[in-house]
Symmetry: D2
């Protein structure tokens, strides 16, 4: 029986342990993917540090691989494209249940609490291969895979799954940009950079990025940011608000995208949004409890605020479409790659903000 | 020269002083209105208590009266209806400047900071008559008056200007209700009751009102509230969230409208909104600084939040249309009326929450 | 082996032939429904007259029944409610494929061309029971059934599946009504009456119905129509446009809903919509080829026009919610009922416009 | 008294006659503009040929000039920017009345029927200078001028007023583009090319232009069209629909923009729009009466159709913003310029489709 290896989380801050697993037999509709690349996400780092994270676990919820085997039945990806063994595919870490109130009535499947997850839950039951850090991933039927049209699009597909799909979804929630909009992005990590890319694509007239460290802001400029505000220099939120005010004729930005998760970010973002502007809150993905936020400004400035969480396969597909022909300095984005044995070094690299995007590279 | 009387604010918590003013001559486009009724708003009470309120001032920004005189020029109300002396009219307290960025580009005239106000700024310069507590009000051209079709509609017009126009505007901001929605209203004052009326009109399937005191909740039930939560009984926000949760199959309401201005209201409201639901924040009209609000829930539940401020004449016109044929127990709403000399008692009555709606009744 | 009877279409304009079928064995996820009531739709009449309709066929795509048997597996209805044998359920006639571009990317599953249909395709292959005129219907997994909360809601569920769900969907497409809107409905058949009901529910300030015959317009008035235009009296489209113009201060209606399928209806409807108004085209459900329509008016009046086709289970669920507590003169709507043997008489009754809603009543 | 010259329309197809006019005195709020450039619009050609066009008339409703004199009062442009004599400004040909139902309630001022027009109504009354072909134009107060930030932006401002503002408005009506959309533009005249520019700016993934002649399609390619369909080659509408079908995987475009005014264009456009797609009808600006259009496809494909007419100053301002830093081959767009004496040659040039954009160049 064929085997595969995976770096396994075995406890908070412990070195990931490389273990070997049997490749499973597939039931109807199931898919076995031989992994090529898995993004090392900030969420992985948080889980790695968190004593409450259930062990064992295989991380990896931003994944590109090759279909190794297809179970019986319909051979279609999540957007209706025919798939076969050998096809390149991309997939995320969550499959909504499809039958709860959230999925069927509220039509917000990414907020479903009953779905199946990859890369963020324990792999203590068969078939174990539930995260993209492993050499193979076993997928339930309809797990949201999307075919990658060619090998040249693999890195674009990774960009799509790492942050761009989330922004595509978020823009849908906020009613889109209008060409010429002044956009402010809070946070210069992978999601913030994706916000920058998608804003540029959508015709933003000016893009201001608020983030750190300098290395990321430099990449932001390469990707089209018109101005950057370095939060290591402008350390006080009030100073940053003042700077943004000065950059926007005293008005604030038309659209602000929170992609930082910072503790003061939402209050700042509200201050940085112009009267009647839009504020998209994507980055507050961890429950740190209440923050100091002044709701008066939402009423007085008549803001439209929207939260958005993760993305569905059609957002991923759309993100891939938007990136397909775009000239992007991919090498400046994919700065670090690690082998299965080096997964722990990968987490450390992301933790220390040395990388822009770091990945587990399987071959 | 004809004269008129007005109860004038002369200092925080002091008795309003009845003074006499000359009726002004009108320039082109100006209008002189003989007042019938002016709402006594909670804002008036706040200003009355506030040492920073500039004196002298004539309160009154929710007004119904009769056109006493029209200056030269175009005789049209704000929605294009012909007007003449003797016509009944309704008007609010703010006229946007019409030429700033907020008015012309952002298209949010109610957020304009450069307009002219009635009832909320000092009347220390001619023509002095700048608030509806006075027997006459002098209006600049294009001051946003709307004709009332008949005497029988006067109370409906008051209801429209007191809160319903604000909700019409707010519903526009939040994209409207869908028939069958479960709506939760935070706050049982005039704005909250207007939210209830407009929600009922818009096909809400169920309306839950969270407020106090009992007398107002009783009126809320008469107006169509299906359930009420008395915040004097359920004093802890967590308890209220739990109650609402129980009333909504554990999901929260489809649409929540904040009309209370309460210090914990926004955090509560977010907790009370279902996944993918809408949250309209109208009540946070005073800047009390930051509150404890957990932004994670906006992201995780993918809420759409909107602020809305005041209303334009077309919202007022629409509000009047929606109320025109509606059967409402008006006597239960208009509970207290005061003469010019009794304006101070009017403020005290509103302050103590004895009234539902209290007014200065000029004749 | 248990048997059931069904009136079967065997050729254009021929009497439906009552045949007997074996009740099938169920595979995982399949459902067998014992029918209570099936709507006799105008579409059934069209198919009955049409020589191209493939025979044999069992009509019936607006269905209420009782779950007789559930195949293995998940026991949930289309909106996530638990279902068991004996439960009352409602279901329509179309199950989208779920995997084509239309379903996955365009997110317009009701326009899917690859789904499974009930009541509108030939039943020449097992398990034969593919239409609600039969005593039993066999359903594939995930066929879009929605549980009816109680026996008292059966007629409301029928109303929901017969036309209200379609209007709920249509209102979603057109961005909803605003309370106070003047709504004009073209067509006084079941869909038009559903448009009237949902408009009334959504706060329409005035509803004008254009249709015939007089008996239906009388019901329309009972349901809340403020004005009716009888097309048997005002026979020329121009006259009707003039009448509507007079009823709307020369402006046209805020929202017009085409629910007639008439050959001149769309051109008329465009003429009857006010500048900046909305036009929802639901009734043009048969391809009769091009009509004479002046596109200049769409540009000049800046209309928003939307087409909407059928409905999904969550629209059906929402329609049921909106009708649940509504007082409706149900007896005036459900005017005719026919037994299996009388299905042909049912079609004739609908054809001659004698009925408002006619049904096959199974017990 | 200073004089100015203007080429005046004196009868259908007659040579425009150069006449001399006195420069008028200005009342409060009025503005006198010394013209630099006026677009020669297809509408001008239609009026020139039309026996019903009232003479005398000075054409010119797409205008750039310099403020020669400002009447007393507020010195602000239509978007609140301070203006002074000597400032470069751009303005269109219509000033809504601001007080009718269309302006105040329907909020569709560009559809107002009571406003003041420049370049499209007779100049038979003082102050005569009512069109941009004249050396000076006299403007009423609040005539919708927008300041041009610098001389280098003059051509961009012309592009904005000639078609881009109309598309900005249209995109607002249709709810904007989504990055990655496949956009099809019908018509390769100035409005069609503006649609192309704005679609490209808004992130269109692919743009197909259907038009003629070859010279314009060549420019379309330079501006970013991915594919072109030459209607002089594919003469039958059915052939064009088939070609577009082939270019879009059999689905049609996500968004179709009608900018041709063609007699079969709307029926074609509907056929070329994908299920659930958007169709923006801007080009049907002349009332040629009914066309053959199949409404079934609107219902069956669930299209969202919107008409849009002209634009307001804030659309013009936004259009200028979007173009400001864009690299455009301006010389390929502005192909022909004519002096006042040559205005008739200008009309002939536009009529024969030799030009892309032709203008009256005053100095």
């Amino acid at each position: 029986m064929a085997k595969c290896r995976a770096p396994v989380f075995v406890g908070a801050d412990k070195r990931l342990e490389v273990r070997e697993y049997d490749l499973p037999d597939l039931k109807a509709g199931e898919v076995l993917v031989k992994m090529m690349t898995a993004g090392i996400c900030g969420t992985d780092v948080h889980m790695w540090h968190n004593p409450k994270t259930p062990a064992p676990m295989i991380f990896g919820h931003e994944n590109v691989g090759v279909i190794a085997e297809l179970g019986e039945g319909k051979k279609l990806d999540a957007v209706g494209q025919e798939i076969n063994e050998g096809d390149l595919v991309v997939f995320g870490g969550f499959v909504p249940c499809g039958s709860c109130y959230t999925c069927t009535i509220a039509k917000e499947p990414t907020s479903c609490r009953k779905g199946i997850t990859y890369g963020t839950t324990s792999n203590n039951t068969p078939p174990y291969l539930r995260g993209g850090y492993a050499e193979y991933v076993h997928l339930v039927p309809n797990a949201g895979i999307v075919k990658i049209p060619s090998e040249r699009q693999v890195k674009k597909a990774l960009l799509a799954v790492i942050g761009n799909r989330t922004i595509v979804h978020g823009f849908e929630k906020i009613g889109g940009l209008q060409a010429g909009d002044t956009v402010l992005v809070q946070g210069s990590g992978p999601i913030g950079l994706a916000a920058l890319i998608q804003s540029k694509l959508s015709g933003a007239g000016r893009i201001i990025m608020v983030g750190a460290p300098e290395s990321r802001l430099k990449v932001a400029k390469d990707l089209g940011a018109d101005q950057v505000v370095n939060i290591e220099e402008a350390k006080a939120p009030d100073d940053r608000v003042r700077l943004v005010n000065d950059l926007t004729e005293g008005r604030g930005a038309d659209v602000v995208i929170e992609a930082s998760g910072g503790s003061t970010a939402v209050e700042e973002g509200i201050m940085m949004t112009r009267i009647g502007g839009k504020y998209l809150i994507i980055g507050q993905a961890t429950d740190y409890g209440p923050r100091a936020i002044n709701p008066y400004n939402i009423t007085r400035k008549q803001l439209r605020v929207a939260g958005s969480w993760a993305a569905m396969p059609h957002h991923l597909f759309r993100a891939m479409q938007t990136l397909r022909d775009l000239e992007i300095p991919l090498d400046k984005l994919f700065t670090h790659r690690f082998r299965v044995e080096e997964a722990t070094e990968g987490l450390e690299t992301v933790d220390s903000l040395q990388s822009i995007i770091a990945v587990i590279q399987h071959k």
